[in-house]
Symmetry: C2
Subunit: 164 residues, 2 copies
DNA sequence: ACAATAATCTAGCGTTGCTAGATCGTCAAG
DNA sequence: CTTGACGATCTAGCAACGCTAGATTATTGT
């Protein structure tokens, strides 16, 4: 979406958008924050609806990919378009923190130092989404890849990492 | 880079660029293909310089992240800017195939059906690079995350996947 | 009723990707 | 040596982009 088209969409002119937001990045950031709220809810739902203990990871992973592939424009705002949203700094936006925590919650039962494993889990999910969307890996093998990631955490993940 | 700036750089006007390439995406694709050649060489080097059997995975993973973080513009051309390069189709470009094979070569000793595991490995590496570059995960924990990914493959990877 | 203030728009700047038409250089045929 | 064809290159421009200054309209307090 361009600012001009967005302005047309809401039936206002561009300057009213720029009086509410500093620039394009700020608008994308606002959309991204909404996206993080949504994905947090989706991940928490997926974790809740897991029947067995082991299925939570798989459910959450599938929900993450479902979100990324089902709402590509929103996911782009959250992860590929330039924004001023940083995570690993002091004043992390709560919406980002909440999404991370939703992932960490399903990781926690499997390891002590969840932070590193959650980051790695998140990276794997993001990579799977990105590569599948750009046609670099086979969509048909998605479930097998998810199973791989889940097994890597549930199977070998109970030990603490090297310098945990 | 913009086409205008690129045209200035090579000291020609824009139309000569457009007489050699169909459009911007085609130019980015050409750059991306060069990038795939380079990363293939870097990954093969990393695998060769591995002393022990287990260190190949770690070396290659570190080399991948080093490439992605050290040449951000080139990596963008390969993975985030729109191109017409598809992987999982019939006529896959050989440069893409070679990069994938370089990853698969270090995966092969650890599992029978390397394709799925290589895709997952690649996705994890790409996700780590993307999230670290956008400031979403802690740069200081990079080595621990790499160790996690490596252990997931070397440790639990010797069994064949579910529907291998 | 009138002035002050807030909200909104028109019009424009500089930049982008891309292209049509003019211009220039090269070279074979006469 | 001239002419004409052909290919390469450039100038100039289009539509769309992010963004903004200045004019204009609406709203409000007195």
């Amino acid at each position: 979406m361009t600012i001009r088209r967005l302005a047309d969409e809401i039936e206002y002119s561009q300057p009213v958008l720029y009086s509410h937001f500093e620039n394009r990045d700020a608008i994308v950031s606002a959309v991204a924050l909404e996206g993080f709220k949504e994905i947090t809810a989706a991940l928490e739902d997926a974790a809740r609806q897991a029947s067995a203990r082991g299925s939570a990871l798989k459910n959450v992973a599938a929900a993450y990919l479902g979100f990324a592939l089902g709402r590509p424009a929103l996911y782009d705002a959250m992860f590929v378009l330039p924004t001023d949203l940083r995570f690993a700094v002091a004043e992390t936006r709560p919406e980002l923190r909440a999404a991370f925590d939703a992932l960490a919650a399903v990781i926690a039962p499997f390891c002590k130092d969840a932070a590193v494993v959650t980051e790695t889990f998140w990276a794997a999910l993001h990579g799977l989404a990105a590569l599948e969307r750009s046609g670099r890996i086979r969509p048909a093998a998605r479930d097998e890849r998810i199973a791989r990631v889940v097994r890597a955490i549930a199977g070998a993940g109970s030990r603490a990492p090297a310098r945990g």
